[in-house]
Amino acid sequence: MSGKSPPYSTTDSGVGIAKHPIEKCRRMKGHHMNLWQEYKRPTSVAEAVQALASAPGPALPIAGGTDLILDLRQGNHLPIHTLIDLTFIPEMSALEMRGDSLYIGAAVPVSRVARDPLVGAHAQALTEAANLIAGPQVRNTATLGGNVAHALPAADGTIALTALDAIAEVAGASGTRKMPFTSLFLGPGKSAIDKTKEIIVGFHIPVKTSEVSETSEVLRASSCFKRIMRPQGVALPILNCAVWLERSGEVVNDIHIAIGPGGPVPFRTTDAESALRGQPLTDAALTRALDALLAQAKFRDSARRASADYRRHIVVGLFKDVLETAWKRAEQD
């Protein structure tokens, strides 16, 4: 013990906690039974699909791993032999305009989606959703591909993409195909993609640039996403809502409304959309849309999170808020 150390010396704190030399570089002692046996880093989609098919044991793609590694660790998942890392594939990390669509690779981290100006300009609902998913560290690895493949009916990225009517590009042994967004889901946690064979490569979000309608009004598209949380329990929303619309003066030219959870799969309230499509956005139209929404949605009780009653109650304000915000955005643009 010596008392001469300067206030910021890093050697002697003055606190006597018995210390022991920490020897360097011993063979590692992990804290868990091996979460996986083999780890592959393919650099092309074809290679990745091939790796899935040829793995000697159960194999799955891994993007951010923010769902998958937790599931494996908590024993909620059958043991996995091989993980196929999707983040080294350039095609899956691309984010760019492709023709009339905004293309977002399925392995682009959510934080990049949140910050990207193209997304901000053409898919603001997605920007908003991406900014709300988890915290910055998780966002830096979590991806939209994982968010969608996990197939929860109220995942934030998923709901935004639902309203944006994204098209998924899916690769399998027989090549790639395009799938409408809502066809990706079978039930809560059940993806239509067979993750042991197929990979979501990316999402195409149709982009409508301003054009002039038949009534010579300018058509402007916009979108918005919001959610309601509860402060206890898991960090998933108890209700979220995304709206994409195309506005022509005071008329709703076209609209997509997604609500999570409004059923076992990400939910588009097509009846409410019909009630508004081609209509001026009046109080009466809004009421009709709400009635249609409440009639079509299948809200349910989730233990310790929210009752169906409560969801029916709060969806009213949430939907109005999101719709009105999107509506205003289409005007200002």
Partner: protein, 930 residues
């Protein structure tokens, strides 16, 4: 096998890939960069944050193989980063200066996250900081200090000027030369560089890894246990069961009712009961071995709550039944009291089980020594009692065990019970190799004692003018499967259940009941958190009923000097409650002169704001007749430095700093000249348990009296040497003045040792005697008082609640280290806020639902309100310089202040925690007749 080529802190590595390895494991275990901490391994806490190619990532869920080709920066890479020499980064410096470092466990993650933020945004505002730190949890919860530190560091980085020190923390009104002024923690620097060593950071040669087989059923008899497959597994060195327990079978803090392991034919009382323990060459093998152990039970009906536990005819969990203790408080005559009352109100409240969720999960390491002794490395709040408990079970004399306390990543009461200490002692003894038992977050959540869930009925009678004449309470406390400190906790809940008020007729009955839930024990607030919620809600209900302003009602009934408490104690001094109430009231009214009226938001009429207020008090020290003793050594060394030693525990609360300041004060030296050694049963005298906000008082006093005694010895010795009267010797500015001579302490050391005297003193301080409950007189030697006001915003459609501001006044007697106090107050408020809004440890029929951190939400920086701390100082004569405890009282009034504010905003009375936004919304829509 593939290679991982990566750069870590500017150094290149080429490592073999290991299946299943995460980046955190690679960094911690292979590169021994232990500054990266593991708090949850589920991407929830942020303690493991490192930069990967410049972006913050959670290394606990980052596959190591993905790091191939990447550049990693860890906390260890920061200090060198800015300048050539080993110098702290401005962020590190700012965290130290602003008191943002408490237990330190989260700090590497906080700093790395902040570092990434400043690289992207050199001039962040408060919102940017909150957005960036959203998921980087600090359970000590000095979020405001963390935010200030980041702002100060950003400024320093932009301007190149030195880091600005905090300016908003006043000195104590009773400050001396050293105590009463803000001082930095001695261990803060190692905590910001990542060098601080916590138990799991230690490794010993030949060390084995342990895991415990838990019953995972709430109630039943163990019928069969098959360990043969586990034993046969390659790499397993030992598998032990109850049959291998050498001596006493049970442990416990007060009652020895908790089996070290449950044996064949014996009763399992909760899911966390241990059945077998394994030591193996690796953690993976230990875990596999555990999964190979088969157990069969004769299942029994489950006692799920304390009310059920007291019903007739239900199964009895312990030999003496389900009642741990019926606790009674009696004062005056209830019939008379209620007959005198003009108004009588009655209401029942419920509070849930909650978890400490300290960021550092439990870890113990047993190390057998060649001479047959056993060392146990552990972060423990009560090292000497650990020693006793280990020795009892091993059948050894206590001296054969040495507890070597380690830095603790938070405790909050949750590291008082023995967790792995006995298990590692048994395994290390059998294998004669060091054995580490690290809990993962799931073990931690399932096994250790919690805050008691309670049901509290309050009946109050008052005169029209507001004078409370009678208060009757009935409490049920869920103490779970084992006693732990249940009796003490529920006693405190009971004696404080009439609030900090002077009431003539009081009656309280509490039933502390065993159930098949995880045990409940000590947790910051020690039962008073629960009863304060009930009684302070009732105070507002009463104020409304009487039509009396709620602050006035409290003022009118507040305990004051001369009051007699419920338990018959006359308060002779140091009752700062009224000043706390007045100061909070005045501060609140600066924001809004009509604070309790709801104000609708102009932009959105569904959003309503209002203030709420609550008061509280909390004993300092064990009380109730328990001798409250702490020992401290103070020793002078040849180089003129001092060391002060006590086994008292540093859990992040700042005791080490307090001890250091006190000795510096007494010896008239700079604090840097005092070193502190704590928590070692071989090297430090018994400081008793670190609980009940007692350590500043008792170990503070022990340190002070030890220093004083040493000073007297120095005086006597110098008087003899220089032939003067001892009174002529002065201690000033680090020197001893004798008759014109000035001696440094190094000189003094030389002189004294030359005279054959050892400049070393051990002092055993005993706090003023107390009386057991029921005997009247002084049940406690000191009380701290507090008042808090909270401003909330409630959304009437969704029921969502946000806390905007909290004003907290705490009567702490005297603020020994105002900087440390600031952290305690911020953390206390945030823990109170979590207790109110976010936290609920859910057990369904004995099974734990909240078995990982994702399900048990502790408040993050996003929920942090503006916190204004007001220090009130009514010194207590027996305390060191007048100080009394603050660790707990700072957390107690927050919950009722918030729930009262909710009521004031929207008229919904919260009588069950945590606040359920759905319940608020539902009540509002039903009221509107929808």
């Amino acid at each position: 096998m593939s290679k991982i080529n990566l750069t870590v802190n500017d150094q290149q590595y080429s490592l073999e890939a290991i299946p299943g390895e995460t980046l955190s494991t690679l960094l911690r275990e292979r590169l021994r960069l232990i500054g990266t901490k593991i708090g949850c391994e589920e991407a929830e806490c942020g303690a493991c944050t490192v930069l990967v190619d410049g972006e913050p990532m959670m290394s606990c869920v980052y596959p190591a193989e993905r790091a191939d080709g990447k550049t990693i920066v860890t906390i260890e890479g920061l200090a060198q980063r800015v300048h050539e020499e080993m110098k702290l980064h401005p962020l590190q410096e700012a965290f130290v200066e602003h008191g943002a470092v408490q237990c330190g466990f989260c700090i590497p993650g906080q700093i790395m996250t902040a570092y990434a933020l400043l690289k992207r945004n050199p001039n962040p505002n408060s919102d940017d900081i909150r957005f960036a730190l959203k998921d980087t949890l600090c359970r000590c919860a000095g979020y405001p200090s963390i935010e200030n530190a980041i702002l100060a560091a950003a400024q320093a980085l932009r301007t190149g000027e030195p880091v600005k020190k905090p300016t908003h923390i006043p000195n104590s009104a009773h400050s001396h030369k050293t105590v009463g002024h803000s001082h930095l923690r001695p261990e803060a620097v190692e905590k910001v560089t990542g060098e601080a060593v916590y138990t799991d950071d230690l490794k010993f040669d030949g060390m084995l890894y342990a895991k415990v087989k838990r019953a995972m059923i709430p109630h039943g008899f163990l019928k069969r246990l098959n360990i043969s497959k586990a034993k046969a597994l390659q790499g397993v060195i030992a598998v032990l069961t109850a049959e291998d327990i050498p001596a006493e079978k049970n442990h416990g803090l007060v009652i020895f009712d908790w089996p070290v392991m449950v044996g064949l034919g014996e009763r399992v009382r909760y899911v966390g009961d241990a059945l077998a323990i394994v030591a193996a060459e690796t953690q993976e093998i230990a875990e596999t071995a555990i999964s190979l152990i088969e157990a069969e039970f004769d299942l029994q009906p489950i006692i799920a709550n304390p009310v059920q536990a007291r019903e007739a005819g239900v199964p009895q969990i312990h030999e003496n039944g389900n009642l741990l203790k019926h606790i009674k408080v009696r004062k005056g005559d209830m019939d008379k009291g209620f007959a005198e009352a003009d108004v009588v109100l009655e209401h029942t409240f419920h509070t849930p089980t909650t978890d400490h969720a300290f960021m550092e999960p439990e870890c113990s390491i047993g190390v057998p020594l060649p001479d047959g002794r056993m060392e146990i490395y552990v972060g423990s709040q009560i090292p000497y009692q650990d020693r006793t408990q280990v020795a009892r079970v091993m059948g050894w004399p206590e001296e054969r065990v040495r507890i070597v306390g380690q830095l603790m990543g938070g405790g909050f009461g949750g590291k008082e019970d023995v967790m792995g200490q006995i298990h590692v002692a048994m395994l290390a003894n059998v294998t004669q190799r060091p054995v580490k038992l690290l809990f993962d977050r799931r073990d931690s959540l399932i096994v250790h004692p919690k805050r008691h869930a309670t049901q509290i009925r309050v009946k109050v009678g008052a005169k029209k003018d507001g004078r409370i004449v009678a208060m009757e309470t009935e409490l049920y406390g869920d103490t779970g499967a084992y006693a732990s400190l249940g009796e003490k906790v529920m006693t405190r809940a009971t004696t404080h259940s009439a609030g900090p008020y002077d009431i003539e007729h009081v009656r309280a009955d509490c039933y502390a009941m065993y159930t098949n839930n995880p045990p409940a024990g000590a947790f910051r607030g020690f039962g008073v958190t629960q009863s304060a919620f009930a009684v302070e809600s009732m105070m507002d209900m009463l104020a409304e009923k009487l039509g009396i302003e709620r602050v006035e009602l409290r003022r009118m009934n507040a305990l004051h000097v001369g009051s007699v408490t419920n338990t018959g104690q006359v308060l002779n001094e140091s009752v700062g409650l009224t000043e706390c109430i007045d100061k909070v009231d005045a501060e609140m009214r600066k924001h809004n002169p009509r604070p309790f009226d709801p104000i609708a938001d102009e932009a959105d009429l569904n959003i309503v704001r209002a203030w709420g207020l609550a008061a509280a008090y909390k004993n300092t020290g064990l009380g109730g007749g328990a001798p409250d003793i702490s020992g401290a050594d103070v020793e002078l060394y040849a180089d003129g430095t001092f060391q002060v030693r006590s086994s008292a525990a540093e859990l992040g609360q700042g005791l080490v700093t307090v001890m250091r300041l006190i000795v510096a004060e007494e010896m008239s030296i700079p604090p840097e000249q005092v070193h502190v050694l704590v928590m070692d049963t071989d090297l430090t005298p018994n400081g008793g348990p670190t609980t009940a906000s007692r350590q500043t008082f008792v170990t503070g006093n022990a340190s002070r009296y030890a220093a004083k005694t040493l000073r007297d010895q120095i005086s006597a010795s110098m008087a003899e040497k220089f032939d003067v009267r001892p009174e002529q010797i002065r201690f000033e500015n680090g020197t001893v003045h004798v008759n014109g001579h000035s001696l440094s302490y190094a000189d003094v050391y030389k002189e004294m040792t030359a005279l054959g005297q050892q400049p070393r003193v051990r002092y055993e301080y005993e706090a003023p005697k107390t009386k057991p409950l029921g005997e009247g007189g002084d049940m406690h030697f000191a009380f701290s008082f507090a008042t808090q006001a909270a401003e909330v915003k409630v959304n009437k459609l969704t029921g969502e609640v946000r806390v905007l501001r909290v004003i907290a006044a705490n009567d702490v007697g005297m603020a020994v280290n105002p900087l440390g106090l600031q952290g305690q107050v911020e953390g206390g408020v945030m823990m109170g806020l979590g207790n109110c809004l976010t936290e609920e440890f859910i057990v369904e029929n004995g099974n734990v639902v909240t078995d990982h951190l994702a399900r048990y939400r502790v408040p993050g920086i996003m929920l942090t309100p503006e916190i204004t701390s007001i220090i009130v100082e009514h010194p207590i004569s027996a305390g060191p310089y007048g100080a009394k405890g603050v660790g707990e009282v700072s957390s107690i009034p927050t919950t009722p202040a918030i729930t009262n504010a909710i009521y004031n905003a929207v008229g919904v009375r919260i009588d069950k925690l945590p606040v359920d936004q759905e319940m608020i919304a539902r009540e509002l829509w039903e009221r509107e007749g929808k």
